[in-house]
Protein backbone atom coordinates (compact mmCIF):
# COMPACT_ATOMS: atom_id res chain seq x y z
CA UNK A 1 0.00 0.00 0.00
CA UNK A 2 2.63 2.45 1.05
CA UNK A 3 4.96 1.46 -1.77
CA UNK A 4 2.29 1.99 -4.46
CA UNK A 5 1.60 5.41 -3.02
CA UNK A 6 5.28 6.29 -3.27
CA UNK A 7 5.40 4.88 -6.78
CA UNK A 8 2.52 7.06 -7.91
CA UNK A 9 4.14 10.02 -6.21
CA UNK A 10 7.34 9.59 -8.10
CA UNK A 11 5.65 9.42 -11.49
CA UNK A 12 6.49 12.53 -13.39
CA UNK A 13 2.90 13.61 -13.96
CA UNK A 14 2.37 13.74 -10.21
CA UNK A 15 5.76 14.74 -8.87
CA UNK A 16 6.23 17.75 -11.13
CA UNK A 17 2.87 19.45 -10.48
CA UNK A 18 3.27 18.67 -6.79
CA UNK A 19 6.68 20.32 -6.73
CA UNK A 20 5.26 23.34 -8.50
CA UNK A 21 2.40 23.63 -6.02
CA UNK A 22 4.77 23.34 -3.07
CA UNK A 23 7.08 25.97 -4.55
CA UNK A 24 4.20 28.34 -5.17
CA UNK A 25 2.84 27.90 -1.66
CA UNK A 26 6.27 28.37 -0.16
CA UNK A 27 6.85 31.55 -2.14
CA UNK A 28 3.47 32.94 -1.16
CA UNK A 29 4.22 32.25 2.49
CA UNK A 30 7.45 34.21 2.16
CA UNK A 31 5.71 37.08 0.42
CA UNK A 32 2.97 37.33 3.00
CA UNK A 33 5.45 37.58 5.85
CA UNK A 34 7.64 40.20 4.18
CA UNK A 35 5.32 42.64 2.51
CA UNK A 36 4.83 45.45 4.98
CA UNK A 37 6.02 48.04 2.51
CA UNK A 38 8.97 49.21 4.55
CA UNK A 39 11.73 51.01 2.70
CA UNK A 40 14.77 52.00 4.71
CA UNK A 41 17.89 53.80 3.65
CA UNK A 42 20.58 56.32 4.50
CA UNK A 43 21.34 59.68 2.97
CA UNK A 44 24.89 60.98 2.83
CA UNK A 45 25.82 64.53 2.21
CA UNK A 46 28.49 65.88 -0.14
CA UNK A 47 31.06 65.38 2.55
CA UNK A 48 30.26 61.69 2.82
CA UNK A 49 28.72 62.09 6.26
CA UNK A 50 25.12 61.29 7.14
CA UNK A 51 22.80 64.13 6.20
CA UNK A 52 19.99 64.96 8.55
CA UNK A 53 16.89 66.84 7.60
CA UNK A 54 16.94 65.91 3.93
CA UNK A 55 13.67 65.28 2.14
CA UNK A 56 13.41 61.93 0.46
CA UNK A 57 10.71 61.57 -2.20
CA UNK A 58 9.38 58.20 -3.27
CA UNK A 59 7.89 57.82 -6.70
CA UNK A 60 6.14 54.88 -8.26
CA UNK A 61 7.24 53.84 -11.71
CA UNK A 62 5.02 52.46 -14.42
CA UNK A 63 5.88 51.55 -18.01
CA UNK A 64 5.00 55.06 -19.04
CA UNK A 65 4.35 57.22 -15.99
CA UNK A 66 5.83 58.36 -12.76
CA UNK A 67 3.79 59.35 -9.74
CA UNK A 68 4.68 60.74 -6.35
CA UNK A 69 3.94 58.42 -3.52
CA UNK A 70 5.28 60.10 -0.45
CA UNK A 71 7.89 62.21 1.23
CA UNK A 72 9.81 61.78 4.42
CA UNK A 73 12.64 63.44 6.25
CA UNK A 74 15.89 61.91 7.31
CA UNK A 75 16.62 61.68 11.00
CA UNK A 76 19.72 62.87 12.77
CA UNK A 77 21.72 59.86 11.67
CA UNK A 78 20.78 60.36 8.04
CA UNK A 79 18.45 57.39 8.01
CA UNK A 80 14.94 57.47 6.60
CA UNK A 81 12.07 55.08 6.45
CA UNK A 82 8.91 54.74 4.39
CA UNK A 83 6.22 52.43 5.68
CA UNK A 84 3.57 52.51 3.04
CA UNK A 85 5.20 51.42 -0.18
CA UNK A 86 2.74 49.37 -2.19
CA UNK A 87 4.64 49.05 -5.43
CA UNK A 88 7.37 46.82 -6.76
CA UNK A 89 9.19 49.47 -8.76
CA UNK A 90 9.97 52.76 -7.03
CA UNK A 91 12.34 55.65 -7.43
CA UNK A 92 13.89 57.67 -4.63
CA UNK A 93 15.46 61.04 -4.61
CA UNK A 94 16.91 62.92 -1.68
CA UNK A 95 17.39 66.66 -1.52
CA UNK A 96 18.07 69.37 0.96
CA UNK A 97 17.72 73.02 0.07
CA UNK A 98 21.07 74.70 0.16
CA UNK A 99 22.98 71.46 0.06
CA UNK A 100 22.00 69.75 -3.17
CA UNK A 101 20.11 66.75 -4.41
CA UNK A 102 20.87 63.16 -5.20
CA UNK A 103 20.33 61.38 -8.44
CA UNK A 104 17.25 59.31 -9.10
CA UNK A 105 17.71 55.89 -7.55
CA UNK A 106 15.60 53.09 -8.97
CA UNK A 107 14.63 50.33 -6.59
CA UNK A 108 13.11 47.20 -8.08
CA UNK A 109 11.58 44.62 -5.80
CA UNK A 110 10.55 41.02 -6.21
CA UNK A 111 7.00 41.55 -5.06
CA UNK A 112 4.75 44.43 -4.18
CA UNK A 113 5.45 46.11 -0.86
CA UNK A 114 8.54 44.03 -0.28
CA UNK A 115 10.45 45.16 2.78
CA UNK A 116 13.79 46.45 1.68
CA UNK A 117 16.80 48.10 3.21
CA UNK A 118 18.88 49.89 0.65
CA UNK A 119 22.43 48.73 0.46
CA UNK A 120 23.79 51.84 -1.18
CA UNK A 121 23.13 55.19 0.47
CA UNK A 122 21.66 58.10 -1.45
CA UNK A 123 24.39 60.63 -2.03
CA UNK A 124 23.41 64.26 -2.10
CA UNK A 125 25.77 66.34 -4.19
CA UNK A 126 26.04 70.01 -4.93
CA UNK A 127 24.40 70.92 -8.23
CA UNK A 128 26.91 71.81 -10.92
CA UNK A 129 27.47 75.47 -11.69
Amino acid sequence: MRSTFLRILRHRFVAVPLLIVVAVLGWNAYVVTHNDGIVRGVVLGPDGRPLAGATVTMMEQNFTTNSDRGKTMTRADGAFEFTDNRSHNIQLRAEKPGVGRSGLVVVRLYFRAQDVTLREPLRVTKPAG
Binding site: R12, F13, V16, N62, F63, H88, N89, R108, L109, Y110, F111, R112
Partner: protein, 276 residues
Protein backbone atom coordinates in the same frame (compact mmCIF):
# COMPACT_ATOMS: atom_id res chain seq x y z
CA UNK B 1 38.98 -4.22 -40.13
CA UNK B 2 40.43 -1.18 -38.40
CA UNK B 3 39.90 0.88 -41.50
CA UNK B 4 36.20 0.08 -41.46
CA UNK B 5 35.89 1.09 -37.82
CA UNK B 6 37.69 4.39 -38.27
CA UNK B 7 35.53 5.11 -41.27
CA UNK B 8 32.46 4.54 -39.19
CA UNK B 9 33.81 6.78 -36.46
CA UNK B 10 34.48 9.51 -38.99
CA UNK B 11 30.99 9.17 -40.40
CA UNK B 12 29.51 9.31 -36.95
CA UNK B 13 31.61 12.31 -36.10
CA UNK B 14 30.46 14.19 -39.15
CA UNK B 15 26.85 13.25 -38.43
CA UNK B 16 27.22 14.56 -34.91
CA UNK B 17 28.69 17.76 -36.29
CA UNK B 18 25.75 18.19 -38.62
CA UNK B 19 23.28 17.59 -35.80
CA UNK B 20 25.13 20.00 -33.55
CA UNK B 21 24.82 22.67 -36.21
CA UNK B 22 21.12 21.92 -36.57
CA UNK B 23 20.65 21.99 -32.79
CA UNK B 24 22.41 25.32 -32.62
CA UNK B 25 20.02 26.79 -35.17
CA UNK B 26 17.00 25.36 -33.39
CA UNK B 27 18.05 26.56 -29.95
CA UNK B 28 19.45 29.96 -30.86
CA UNK B 29 16.10 31.82 -30.82
CA UNK B 30 15.36 30.49 -27.33
CA UNK B 31 18.71 31.60 -26.02
CA UNK B 32 18.41 35.02 -27.59
CA UNK B 33 14.98 35.70 -26.15
CA UNK B 34 15.99 34.35 -22.76
CA UNK B 35 18.97 36.65 -22.76
CA UNK B 36 16.89 39.66 -23.72
CA UNK B 37 14.35 38.91 -21.04
CA UNK B 38 17.06 38.77 -18.41
CA UNK B 39 18.97 41.88 -19.34
CA UNK B 40 17.18 43.96 -21.91
CA UNK B 41 20.42 45.73 -22.70
CA UNK B 42 20.35 44.81 -26.35
CA UNK B 43 17.09 46.64 -26.81
CA UNK B 44 18.77 49.95 -26.31
CA UNK B 45 22.40 49.14 -26.92
CA UNK B 46 24.09 48.12 -30.13
CA UNK B 47 26.08 45.97 -30.66
CA UNK B 48 24.46 43.40 -28.41
CA UNK B 49 26.66 41.25 -26.25
CA UNK B 50 26.58 37.51 -26.62
CA UNK B 51 26.51 36.76 -22.93
CA UNK B 52 23.98 38.32 -20.55
CA UNK B 53 25.36 41.39 -18.82
CA UNK B 54 23.94 42.12 -15.34
CA UNK B 55 21.04 39.71 -15.59
CA UNK B 56 18.04 40.32 -13.40
CA UNK B 57 14.58 38.96 -12.94
CA UNK B 58 12.76 42.25 -12.70
CA UNK B 59 11.21 42.14 -16.14
CA UNK B 60 9.39 39.02 -15.05
CA UNK B 61 8.08 40.88 -12.01
CA UNK B 62 6.94 43.68 -14.31
CA UNK B 63 5.03 41.22 -16.44
CA UNK B 64 3.31 39.79 -13.39
CA UNK B 65 2.13 43.12 -12.05
CA UNK B 66 1.79 45.61 -14.87
CA UNK B 67 0.08 43.38 -17.38
CA UNK B 68 -2.94 41.50 -16.08
CA UNK B 69 -0.84 38.34 -16.51
CA UNK B 70 -2.58 36.42 -13.68
CA UNK B 71 -5.91 37.18 -15.30
CA UNK B 72 -4.77 36.05 -18.73
CA UNK B 73 -3.28 32.95 -17.14
CA UNK B 74 -6.54 32.19 -15.40
CA UNK B 75 -8.52 32.60 -18.60
CA UNK B 76 -6.19 30.35 -20.54
CA UNK B 77 -6.25 27.72 -17.81
CA UNK B 78 -10.05 27.72 -17.53
CA UNK B 79 -10.53 27.42 -21.27
CA UNK B 80 -7.94 24.66 -21.52
CA UNK B 81 -9.44 22.71 -18.64
CA UNK B 82 -12.90 22.97 -20.20
CA UNK B 83 -11.54 21.86 -23.52
CA UNK B 84 -9.61 18.91 -22.11
CA UNK B 85 -12.48 17.67 -19.97
CA UNK B 86 -14.97 17.83 -22.82
CA UNK B 87 -12.49 16.27 -25.20
CA UNK B 88 -11.87 13.23 -23.06
CA UNK B 89 -15.56 12.63 -22.46
CA UNK B 90 -16.91 13.33 -25.94
CA UNK B 91 -14.12 11.58 -27.81
CA UNK B 92 -14.24 8.46 -25.66
CA UNK B 93 -17.99 8.20 -26.01
CA UNK B 94 -17.88 8.65 -29.75
CA UNK B 95 -15.00 6.21 -30.17
CA UNK B 96 -16.80 3.58 -28.11
CA UNK B 97 -19.87 3.99 -30.25
CA UNK B 98 -17.72 3.53 -33.33
CA UNK B 99 -16.39 0.22 -32.09
CA UNK B 100 -19.86 -1.22 -32.29
CA UNK B 101 -21.31 -2.29 -35.58
CA UNK B 102 -24.45 -0.44 -36.52
CA UNK B 103 -26.16 0.78 -39.59
CA UNK B 104 -24.58 4.01 -40.75
CA UNK B 105 -21.24 3.35 -39.09
CA UNK B 106 -19.38 3.63 -42.38
CA UNK B 107 -21.20 6.84 -43.19
CA UNK B 108 -20.30 8.37 -39.84
CA UNK B 109 -16.65 7.46 -40.26
CA UNK B 110 -16.63 8.98 -43.74
CA UNK B 111 -18.21 12.14 -42.41
CA UNK B 112 -15.61 12.38 -39.67
CA UNK B 113 -12.72 11.82 -42.06
CA UNK B 114 -14.00 14.48 -44.39
CA UNK B 115 -14.43 16.89 -41.50
CA UNK B 116 -10.72 16.51 -40.94
CA UNK B 117 -10.27 18.15 -44.31
CA UNK B 118 -12.04 21.29 -43.13
CA UNK B 119 -9.45 23.31 -41.26
CA UNK B 120 -10.64 25.60 -38.52
CA UNK B 121 -9.51 28.63 -40.51
CA UNK B 122 -12.13 27.86 -43.15
CA UNK B 123 -14.89 28.22 -40.60
CA UNK B 124 -14.02 31.42 -38.79
CA UNK B 125 -16.63 33.72 -40.29
CA UNK B 126 -19.73 31.58 -39.73
CA UNK B 127 -18.32 30.21 -36.47
CA UNK B 128 -18.22 33.79 -35.25
CA UNK B 129 -21.82 34.35 -36.31
CA UNK B 130 -22.92 31.12 -34.66
CA UNK B 131 -21.15 31.99 -31.43
CA UNK B 132 -22.67 35.43 -31.50
CA UNK B 133 -26.14 34.00 -32.06
CA UNK B 134 -25.66 31.62 -29.15
CA UNK B 135 -24.74 34.60 -27.03
CA UNK B 136 -21.36 33.13 -26.23
CA UNK B 137 -19.08 35.95 -27.26
CA UNK B 138 -16.60 36.97 -24.59
CA UNK B 139 -17.30 33.83 -22.58
CA UNK B 140 -15.29 30.79 -21.55
CA UNK B 141 -17.77 28.45 -23.16
CA UNK B 142 -17.70 30.32 -26.42
CA UNK B 143 -13.92 30.16 -26.42
CA UNK B 144 -13.78 26.46 -25.69
CA UNK B 145 -16.78 25.14 -27.58
CA UNK B 146 -15.23 24.62 -31.03
CA UNK B 147 -12.45 22.61 -29.44
CA UNK B 148 -14.70 20.27 -27.49
CA UNK B 149 -13.99 17.33 -29.75
CA UNK B 150 -11.19 16.34 -32.08
CA UNK B 151 -11.45 13.75 -34.79
CA UNK B 152 -7.84 12.69 -34.49
CA UNK B 153 -8.34 11.76 -30.86
CA UNK B 154 -11.54 9.86 -31.60
CA UNK B 155 -9.61 7.56 -33.87
CA UNK B 156 -6.83 7.19 -31.33
CA UNK B 157 -9.39 6.07 -28.76
CA UNK B 158 -11.08 3.82 -31.27
CA UNK B 159 -7.85 1.99 -32.04
CA UNK B 160 -7.19 1.62 -28.35
CA UNK B 161 -10.69 0.40 -27.55
CA UNK B 162 -10.65 -2.11 -30.36
CA UNK B 163 -7.56 -3.65 -28.85
CA UNK B 164 -9.42 -4.57 -25.69
CA UNK B 165 -10.26 -8.27 -25.74
CA UNK B 166 -13.86 -8.96 -26.55
CA UNK B 167 -14.15 -11.48 -23.75
CA UNK B 168 -13.55 -8.80 -21.13
CA UNK B 169 -16.42 -6.75 -22.46
CA UNK B 170 -18.72 -9.73 -22.67
CA UNK B 171 -17.87 -10.70 -19.14
CA UNK B 172 -18.64 -7.21 -17.98
CA UNK B 173 -22.01 -7.27 -19.72
CA UNK B 174 -22.83 -10.52 -18.04
CA UNK B 175 -22.08 -8.85 -14.76
CA UNK B 176 -24.73 -6.34 -15.65
CA UNK B 177 -22.53 -3.33 -16.23
CA UNK B 178 -24.11 -0.58 -18.29
CA UNK B 179 -22.33 0.74 -21.35
CA UNK B 180 -21.13 3.84 -19.53
CA UNK B 181 -19.72 1.73 -16.78
CA UNK B 182 -17.96 -0.45 -19.29
CA UNK B 183 -16.26 2.62 -20.71
CA UNK B 184 -15.34 3.95 -17.34
CA UNK B 185 -14.21 0.75 -15.67
CA UNK B 186 -12.72 -1.27 -18.50
CA UNK B 187 -11.99 0.71 -21.63
CA UNK B 188 -10.49 3.85 -20.18
CA UNK B 189 -8.20 2.23 -17.62
CA UNK B 190 -6.83 0.04 -20.38
CA UNK B 191 -6.35 3.04 -22.64
CA UNK B 192 -4.37 5.35 -20.41
CA UNK B 193 -1.94 6.14 -23.23
CA UNK B 194 -4.81 7.26 -25.47
CA UNK B 195 -6.20 9.40 -22.67
CA UNK B 196 -2.77 10.89 -22.02
CA UNK B 197 -2.36 11.64 -25.73
CA UNK B 198 -5.77 13.28 -25.81
CA UNK B 199 -5.02 15.42 -22.78
CA UNK B 200 -1.67 16.55 -24.09
CA UNK B 201 -2.90 17.33 -27.60
CA UNK B 202 -6.03 19.18 -26.54
CA UNK B 203 -4.09 21.17 -23.96
CA UNK B 204 -1.51 22.31 -26.48
CA UNK B 205 -4.16 23.20 -29.06
CA UNK B 206 -6.33 25.18 -26.72
CA UNK B 207 -3.40 26.82 -24.91
CA UNK B 208 -1.80 28.03 -28.15
CA UNK B 209 -5.01 28.99 -29.89
CA UNK B 210 -4.80 32.58 -31.07
CA UNK B 211 -7.11 33.19 -33.99
CA UNK B 212 -10.30 32.02 -32.29
CA UNK B 213 -9.86 34.10 -29.11
CA UNK B 214 -8.91 37.03 -31.30
CA UNK B 215 -12.25 36.74 -33.06
CA UNK B 216 -14.48 35.91 -30.16
CA UNK B 217 -13.11 38.06 -27.34
CA UNK B 218 -13.36 41.85 -27.16
CA UNK B 219 -13.48 42.23 -23.40
CA UNK B 220 -9.93 42.84 -22.13
CA UNK B 221 -10.66 40.82 -19.01
CA UNK B 222 -11.52 37.68 -20.93
CA UNK B 223 -8.42 37.56 -23.06
CA UNK B 224 -6.25 34.50 -23.06
CA UNK B 225 -2.46 34.47 -22.96
CA UNK B 226 -1.79 34.60 -26.72
CA UNK B 227 -4.17 37.53 -27.05
CA UNK B 228 -2.58 39.30 -24.11
CA UNK B 229 0.84 38.77 -25.60
CA UNK B 230 -0.18 40.16 -28.95
CA UNK B 231 -1.84 43.17 -27.37
CA UNK B 232 1.25 43.86 -25.29
CA UNK B 233 3.32 43.74 -28.44
CA UNK B 234 1.11 46.24 -30.19
CA UNK B 235 1.21 48.65 -27.23
CA UNK B 236 4.84 48.51 -26.25
CA UNK B 237 6.68 46.96 -29.18
CA UNK B 238 10.38 46.96 -28.55
CA UNK B 239 10.55 49.40 -25.69
CA UNK B 240 10.95 46.95 -22.87
CA UNK B 241 12.42 43.58 -22.05
CA UNK B 242 9.17 42.74 -20.32
CA UNK B 243 7.74 41.64 -23.67
CA UNK B 244 10.33 38.90 -23.89
CA UNK B 245 9.87 37.95 -20.27
CA UNK B 246 6.18 37.62 -21.17
CA UNK B 247 7.16 35.32 -24.05
CA UNK B 248 9.26 33.12 -21.81
CA UNK B 249 6.54 32.94 -19.18
CA UNK B 250 4.05 31.95 -21.85
CA UNK B 251 6.30 29.34 -23.42
CA UNK B 252 7.36 27.74 -20.15
CA UNK B 253 4.22 25.62 -19.54
CA UNK B 254 4.26 24.38 -23.13
CA UNK B 255 7.91 23.43 -22.94
CA UNK B 256 7.51 21.81 -19.56
CA UNK B 257 4.53 19.75 -20.68
CA UNK B 258 6.30 18.79 -23.88
CA UNK B 259 9.40 17.59 -22.06
CA UNK B 260 7.27 15.54 -19.67
CA UNK B 261 4.94 14.09 -22.27
CA UNK B 262 6.95 13.78 -25.46
CA UNK B 263 5.91 10.23 -26.11
CA UNK B 264 2.21 10.97 -25.88
CA UNK B 265 2.58 14.01 -28.05
CA UNK B 266 4.45 12.18 -30.80
CA UNK B 267 2.08 9.27 -30.68
CA UNK B 268 -0.89 11.56 -31.03
CA UNK B 269 0.57 13.40 -33.97
CA UNK B 270 1.67 10.31 -35.88
CA UNK B 271 -1.39 8.19 -35.30
CA UNK B 272 -3.69 11.04 -36.12
CA UNK B 273 -1.65 11.82 -39.17
CA UNK B 274 -2.03 8.29 -40.47
CA UNK B 275 -5.80 8.53 -40.11
CA UNK B 276 -6.12 5.91 -37.38
Amino acid sequence: MIKKRTRRTWTHASLHLAMLAVSFCMLLPFYWVLKTSLTGENIFVYPPSIVPVHPHLFYYIDVWYYIPFPRYLLNSVVVSVLSIAANVVFNALAAYALTRHFRGRGAVITVLLSCMMIPFQTTIVPAYLITAKLGLLDSYLGLALPTFSTIVCIFVYKASFEAVPRSLIDAARIDGLSELQIIRRIMLPLSTSAVATNIVLSFIWSWNNFLWPLIVVRDPLMQTLPLGLSRFLSYHENTTGALYAFCIMVLAPGILLFLMAQKEFIRGLTSGATKG
